[in-house]
Amino acid sequence: MKEIFLNIWNVLQRELRRMVSRPLYLTASVGAFLFSMFFFMTLMQRGAAEMMPVAVVDLDQTSISRRLIHEMQATPSVDILLVTSSYQEARQAMQEGRIYGIFVIPSDFYRHLVSFKRPRVDFYMTNAYTVGGNTAYKQMMTMANLVSGAFQREVLRKKGMTDDVIMHRIQPVSIEGHMIANPWGNYMIYLVSIVLPGILGVIALILTVFVVGFELKARTSKEWLNAAGGNYTVAMIGKLLPYTVIYQTLGVVCYMMLFTVAGFPVLGSHWRLLFGLLLFIMAMEMMGIVLIGCMPRLRDALSIGALYSMLGFSLSGFTYPNMGMLPFVRAISWIEPLRHYYLIYVNEALMGAPFINSLPTAMALVAFTIPALFVAPRLHHALKYQNYPIN
């Protein structure tokens, strides 16, 4: 037993020396992660999209329509970039990506209004940009309500009612929206909370492939195995331990930034969330071992690893929920550790759910060890005999 610890310590020392003598990979990875963190934290200073530029096409060109446009421009949640009398011009502005919606005041607007007929308006939003288009849509709904509200108010005033009485008639039902754990509708919260740990996980996978694969490529694997007293498991533990500590430290730093400095909500336990992060990182390392175990040629394993781990972001379902994916795609998402981390995050941070809810996902992350066990004999063999193509 004592010997095992001694060997782990041997390998660990060897790995630390290697880390210091070839610092490029680690510094590149840590640097990339810290830069990503800085990028995403500064990118979305304004977490919710409130106003998107739209165009108003005024086909009516009367004093009433112009007054309406002024009223809209004065509304704080509306951003009118362009007022024009030509629909073509507005459409072109949309194709150039300058506006996200077109609000059309038709040519008979004034005529209808003075004859107490409901005036009609048309509006168009782009679907080529989802967030921009939706925000413009909400904004133009406000503008349309401004039109109909103004109309009702005018008519009722003529009937001799006070504004107070009118309000209750205009809005008899209201919906109170409660956005659980994210009352601000902040897009950044759920995005950054998954993207940053996700990047950390990808780095863990790639560096694992690299540090193991480089021993194979440089033909130093025998020396490594000897330091571990010929024990494969000891060799792996000693090698990956220092890296795991570094990743988890970065994870904690990132976590502190998100949940204490930026004030993202965590309804459940901080410790369980951090533990979930550790399990996620270790699962990614296991997948790294699987890849290099199957493809001992370093660059093949790295290329496949990059393609595999990048898919995790989309498959985890934090932008487009998994329930909308085809069943076979949903099945694929289970082999992405990020999917499981996302579920733990939802349970702990957003739902404050009891531990039992996260248990199956935590077990799933642990289960990523199983395929790593399967490739162990093959990889051990490769480390020992170095019988594989290098280039």
């Binding site: 990339a32 194709q95 996200y100 409901r118 048309d122 967030v131 008899p172 919906i175 972001f313 929920p321």
Partner: protein
């Protein structure tokens, strides 16, 4: 140069995987992912304390919306919250006890509470929008009643409460699906990143192998730098122009996502797109010492490029500093330009800003690459001459060493 580079591309399994497997398999995976385009039947729970015909009518209308599926009816909020925590449902609608009485009261205002799971924004969007529509509709009936009570005749009341009738129309993508929006941007991203990554990887391989390519005679003179860059660039261009034609020209038609742009415009737009990415990558490649670092680069840049471009997060919301930086990345212009042509039917003239910007980046990175090539050449020369001098000195010192024992 051209043939040499092609041979390199096809003899490196890493680049074959990235160039061909990556760029051809990824689009199909994304299409499969967003196959349904929309999130339908989001399961919700109902907590109806008013138990009134009005609330039942509301729920009946709401359940008819494609977005929503009423999965549970709960007696209390506690029960519903547990379902939400267990992720059996993604929303709760709550009617308070006084819902019906408030509606009946001519001065009352009735409240409905809607709780949304925020683990994905699409849940909130689906629930909130459909609920709002039902609310507006039932509100109208209440309003008509109230106006009638006030002595307004029914027809006029009906006329009055109609929302200023508006025809809302979604332009360019009738379904408003998530895939229709994201897949065009993803296609451009796949081309951009696989090419970027492949070139960086090969640049790393060249460094590692100290290959011939790095030491062609006469490369230190300017024209040779041109020749080398043109040759290498042409090899990538041939492969990637074909891939871009497939991904951006053919796949939107195959996938039945919106494609109202002229194919000729797309093909013309692809020329500066591919060229700018090639020279951008060749420039970055100068800093790549080996293949593995490029992987870290690929991963950390992909998400940053995607977000900085202002596609999924609107470009109006990107802080200025980042926005200016994004102008240097071909993806920013290419993604917007392609979306404008392909999804919004813009002509090449309408997309001239993006088109010209891509040519500008092509020129910028080409000149930079030539300069870097020349500088690298001089450095190499200096190092070689220093090495030569050093080995000369070595030989001399060895000779003198040899001479010493001979004397003694």
């Amino acid at each position: 140069m051209f043939a040499h580079e092609l041979k390199r591309i096809f003899s490196n399994t890493g680049t074959i995987v990235i160039f061909f497997l990556g760029s051809l398999a990824y689009p199909f995976l994304y299409k499969a992912m967003y196959w349904n385009e929309q999130i339908n039947d989001i399961p919700v729970a109902v907590v109806d304390l008013s138990c009134s015909p009005e609330s039942r009518e509301f729920l009946h209308k709401w359940a008819a919306a494609p977005d929503v599926k009423i999965a549970y009816t709960c007696a209390s909020m506690v029960e519903a919250e547990k379902l939400l925590r267990d992720q059996k449902i993604h929303g709760i609608i709550y009617f308070p006890k006084d819902y019906a009485t408030q509606l009946a009261d001519p001065f009352g205002q009735a409240h409905i509470s809607l709780y949304c799971d925020m683990s994905s924004f699409l849940y909130m969007k689906g629930l909130y929008m459909s609920c709002n529509l039902v609310m507006l509709e039932s509100m109208r009936n209440v309003q008509i009643d109230r106006y009638q009570q006030m002595g307004v005749d029914r027809e006029f009341a009906w006329e009055l409460v109609q929302e200023a009738p508006y025809a809302e129309r979604a332009l360019f993508s009738p379904t408003g699906g998530y895939g229709s929006f994201l897949i065009p941007a993803v296609l451009v991203m796949i081309l951009h990143q696989t090419l970027f990554f492949g070139i960086c990887m090969l640049a790393g391989a060249i460094r590692e192998e100290k290959s011939e390519l790095y030491r062609i005679p006469g490369r230190r003179r300017g024209y040779s730098a041109f020749r080398t860059l043109f040759g290498r660039g042409a090899a990538y261009f041939v492969i990637y122009y074909a891939l871009a034609a497939i991904l951006l020209g053919l796949l939107p038609r195959l996938f039945e996502i919106p494609h109202i742009g002229a194919i000729g415009d797309i093909l013309r737009f692809n020329v500066p797109f591919i060229l700018s990415v090639i020279f951008f990558s060749l420039c970055v490649g100068f800093f790549i010492r080996n293949q593995e670092v490029s992987i870290v680069l690929l991963i950390s840049t992909s998400l940053i490029f995607l977000f900085i471009a202002g596609i999924s997060w609107p470009k109006e919301m990107i802080p200025d500093g980042w926005r200016y930086l994004s102008y240097l990345i071909p993806y920013t212009w290419a993604s917007h330009g392609f979306i404008h042509i392909n999804s919004m039917g813009a002509s090449l003239w309408t997309t001239r800003t993006e088109y010209l910007a891509l040519w500008g980046l092509t020129a910028l990175y080409f000149v930079t690459a030539v300069l870097m090539f020349i500088i690298a050449g001089y450095r190499e020369e200096r190092r070689e001459s220093r090495l030569a001098a050093l080995s000369e000195a070595d030989r001399l010192s060895v000779a003198s060493d040899m001479a010493v024992p001979a004397e003694s």
